[in-house]
Amino acid sequence: MSSDIILKVDNVGKQYRLGLVGTGTISHDLNRWWNKTIGKEDPYLKIGETNDRSEKGNSDYVWAIKDINFEVKRGEVLGIIGKNGAGKSTLLKILSRVTGPSTGEIKTRGRIASLLEVGTGFHPEMTGRENIYLNGAILGMTKAEISSKIDEIIDFSGCIRYVDTPVKRYSSGMKVRLAFAVAAHLEPDILVIDEVLAVGDAEFQKKAIGKMQDISKGEGRTVLFVSHNMAAVKSLCTRAIVLENGTTVFEGDTEEAVDFYLSKGKVLNAIALSSRTDRTGNGKIRLTDINFLNKQNKSVNQVISGEYVKVNLTFEKNNLDIDFERFFIGINFKDDQEQIVLSYLSDEMGSNLSDFSNKNEITLEIPNLFIRSGIYDLRVQTGIGTNRESHLDTIENAATLQVLPGKLWSDGIINRPGNFAILPGEFKL
């Protein structure tokens, strides 16, 4: 049983010191030494002491990750998800031995190679072919391994015409393709992948995801996969852990982990809209409240797919120097993969909102919300002019609306989550 475990992470933590008070350069050290010699106290210790007395006294040290424990079985594809700053990259850096842990240990039965960032070590003066060898070797391949795969790599990159041209003449897209091609042909026992899917054009991304699937499914490789793309995590991973503030908060089934992570993301909504600061725009007006109302003007949080809903937006005006004739408002509905599935944009709808100058509320009335069941986040943006030349206020995830399955079709089968829209239609024979 236990020999199935290829990677064991045991109580791993990484501590960083903030500010590096008192150490850092030789001049500081010399200064300290001099003060000691003439009988004064350490000048840098004082800084430390005042810090100690303040409220955040012991926050001189931070734990980027702490008490991380997990095991990975051979052939498993483990997703690691978490918000920015949750400690994913730190964990990967420790796993790929770029930096050492402060506590704990990691035991492994196989070679770990990482795709932390592709294209590391490319030399601009060398040709594509030479760089394939160099990059491959940096990633841990032997020359013989690379030679046996070079045609495949060049083919995959789609840069065959340029392969004997110095890389400095490449477009940035070509560089990324070449780099990914090398990395994708690595054959370590454990592969660590971080956000590489965000490279290249659509066609290449598709190719890249396909290759990832081959690696993780077809070839039975153990993969640690870090991504913000929940769709990719769901389709690739067999298990996932969720990191938050440096600790594991969830471990288990991918679907559940993704749901857990997404519900965590909604914590933002606990803060009143009016006090949210994560917004952009000049702030002449600010969105302060959103309410969903049903036909009876009652406030709701859930709507059944295909039914009536009214989105009521309340604003505060801080500066009336606004050209209300050209006022623009847009509301986007985003699904749990951050994809916009539905937009109401006042300019393309031809809405006349010039009277907003003496009102504080705007209502969007949706007679039939034909979107599939699921949880949707609303982005609300306001501006001036169709080209948005003046940007007033934009707030992501301003509100969350849960859409429940509805009985849309005549025979009453509820719609499943997963697709964008539901539009009236009928199959005929």
Binding site: T25, I26, G104, I112
Partner: protein
């Protein structure tokens, strides 16, 4: 199930041993070493007209200038029957190798911060590749020296007293010692520059000063005659001993003391080992301090 006798390929631990080398791993990455060497050589003179000819121009012109300044102007004797130019070329050729190794390895961490911050491979591969690629450079310069050497000895009568010594067979040892010293010092300095950037500036002129303390432009015996009170400064300088030995072996004039050579071997090995230990210690956490 007891995990004590489980076999793990390797363990990444927060606890660090003082001496923790994985030679097997370095061996696995040998291809990388050669690819780095190839990269250094191929790309150094890309888009230059003279290309590798620069390898020859550097020492030749330096030797010429040194002859003009130190021998013709300052009248430093280079020994009876040894041409000044050849004397200087010998000094510069050997000094250059040490210098290039030292300078090339002394900013390993800073220069490669980008790669080191993303991918793991045994970091020591990097300085090692510098030493190896410099060896090739040194080889070319040595050939130039040999060409002039043969010309002066067999085709002119300026080098009446100079002839190759039997002791030349230990030349590879001298080269090896220079590499060890350059690599050792370079690793120490590169490890310390992750924290103290000041050292980068120190190394710039420190190396220049060191050259004057390393018997490159004068024979050790001349220094002893002129400045006996300061002789201790260079007497036990391992680099001075190496350079002096190299000339002694080539020209037959000068001193080749076995006890000093043994001392040099021991010092070089020590410095290399100290460098390796410090380097190893630094490589695990430097990315947090650089």
């Amino acid at each position: 199930m007891k995990t004590a006798e489980e076999h793990w390929l390797y363990v990444i631990s927060s606890k660090r041993k003082l001496i923790d080398f994985n030679f097997k791993e370095i061996w696995q990455y040998r291809d990388l070493l050669f690819l780095f060497v190839k990269r250094d050589i191929v790309t150094l003179y890309k888009q230059t007209v003279l290309g590798p000819l620069w390898y020859l121009i550097q020492p030749l012109f330096t030797a010429l200038i040194f002859t003009l300044i130190f021998n013709n102007l300052a009248d430093i004797p280079t020994g009876e029957g040894v041409p000044n130019f050849l004397f200087n070329l010998a000094g510069i050729t050997s000094w250059n190798y040490f210098k290039e190794c030292l300078i090339g390895t002394s900013d390993t961490f800073k220069k490669n911060e980008n790669i080191f911050g993303k991918v793991y491979f045994p970091r020591v591969i990097m300085p090692m590749s510098v030493v190896v690629s410099n060896l090739l450079k040194f080889g070319i310069q040595l050939i130039v020296f040999v060409a002039f050497y043969i010309y002066f000895i067999y085709f002119t009568n300026k080098a009446s007293a100079a002839f190759p010594q039997l002791s030349l067979i230990i030349l590879p040892l001298l080269i090896f010692l220079m590499a060890l010293l350059g690599l050792g010092f370079g690793m120490i300095i590169s490890s310390m520059t992750t924290k103290y950037r000041d050292l980068t500036f120190l190394i710039q002129f420190g190396v220049q000063l060191l050259m004057y303390g390393s018997a490159v432009v004068y024979p050790m015996s001349y220094f002893k005659d002129k400045l006996p009170n300061y002789y201790w400064l260079i007497e036990w300088n391992p680099i001075a001993i190496i350079i002096e030995s190299f000339r002694t072996m080539s020209f037959g004039s000068g001193t080749l003391e076995v006890n000093k050579l043994i001392y040099t071997v021991i010092t070089s090995c020590l410095i290399f080992l100290i460098g390796l230990v410090i380097f190893n210690k630094t490589e695990k956490s430097f990315i947090d301090t650089i």
